[in-house]
Amino acid sequence: MKLVVANLAKEFNRRAIFSDVSFSLELRDSLAITGMNGAGKSTLVKILAGLLSETRGSIEYSVDGKAVPVDMLRDQIGLVSPYLMLYDEFTAKENLSLLSRIRSNSFQIEDRSRELLQQFGLWEKRDEFVRTYSSGMKQRLKFVFALLHQPVLLFVDEPTSNLDEEGVSLVRDVIEQQKKDRILVVATNIHEEAGWCSKRIHLKKI
């Protein structure tokens, strides 16, 4: 898989958020998006994940040299973000199962969800409602959800927010694993987290 972004710009109500963002990523690449609050890091991640439309510029995903629309890559993209919420009225297990069913890949999640829930220390709490989870546990569950279908492209916005030391270490492991043979994009304000990635773009507040 390859991602080529050229002269990307986003405006909300004619107010520019960012402009002229260009980069390209291939397998084993990792990119850190840095910038002050309001510089458009989260907006850029949303656009790259196909959740928002760009105002100008182009985003081209290609698999084996063939261009593929981002909407067709839903089962290859994972996202962890503060604005991405899971369903409070369901348990962790139900969330993973229902969302995988909607993604149409529920047949392969049983073992994988068990493995990830154990890895992130949520196995014992798998049958508890998400509304009873602490913010750190919710962040761990978001990682489980994002990694469940083994995405080729993982977007992580504020990776360690609300996490304790153990959680940060788990995230670090996930990031290292993802960097080995897949693509990773991290949006962060924290210098150390930006250092996890091989490439970096800095968004300036317009």
Partner: protein, 223 residues
Amino acid sequence: MNTFYSTYAVLLKDAQSELRTRYAVNALVMFVVTAAVIVQLAIRSELPSSAVLSGLFWVVVFFAAMSGLSRTFVSEEERGTSMTLQLVASPSAVYFGKLSFNIVLTLLLNSAITILFTVVFPGFVVETFGTFLLTVLLSSIGLASTSTILAAIIAKANTKGTLYPVLAFPILIPLLMTAMRATTRALDGEPFGNAAEEYQILISYIMVITAGSYLVFDYVWKD
């Protein structure tokens, strides 16, 4: 096949969520009971004509639908889960999943209103059951289709509560007028075939609204 499975999964998720939270059902039940009681108190022992009764029936259906059917999208937006859904499902799966859920909800709502009207108003006697059944079925699908796309549009607005009925009313006028006419025929005992024109209008309405909604949903849902 994937879109079909995904659509079914969205419907299942909404149904399970509704059973747990009762976001929409509570609003609908409260409204229906309150409206029926108020109408009954206003009419007292009067025996209204079938045209008036069918009008009252669809007024209650309209306002009840306005109070509950927007929840499918509004609750996703309020809980911050709309992006999660966007990430895992195609727009068509979300649209048809939510539409199916709203159709089921509207059919249940209309069944409840029918039972309530039959109990509360002695004059509300369905003479031609086939006409009534088909009218309620087609109108429920039309009402759900309009409500679903409008709910997706208003979910991102600040003034959701007022915007929804204001936007819905002009679009639903043809459906409500046709449904009222066909219901009057059913209450008057006219033969099933007499309402053929109404069935044609309702089917055309469903096709136009559903096709139009499907075409614009991608834009509404994404931005």
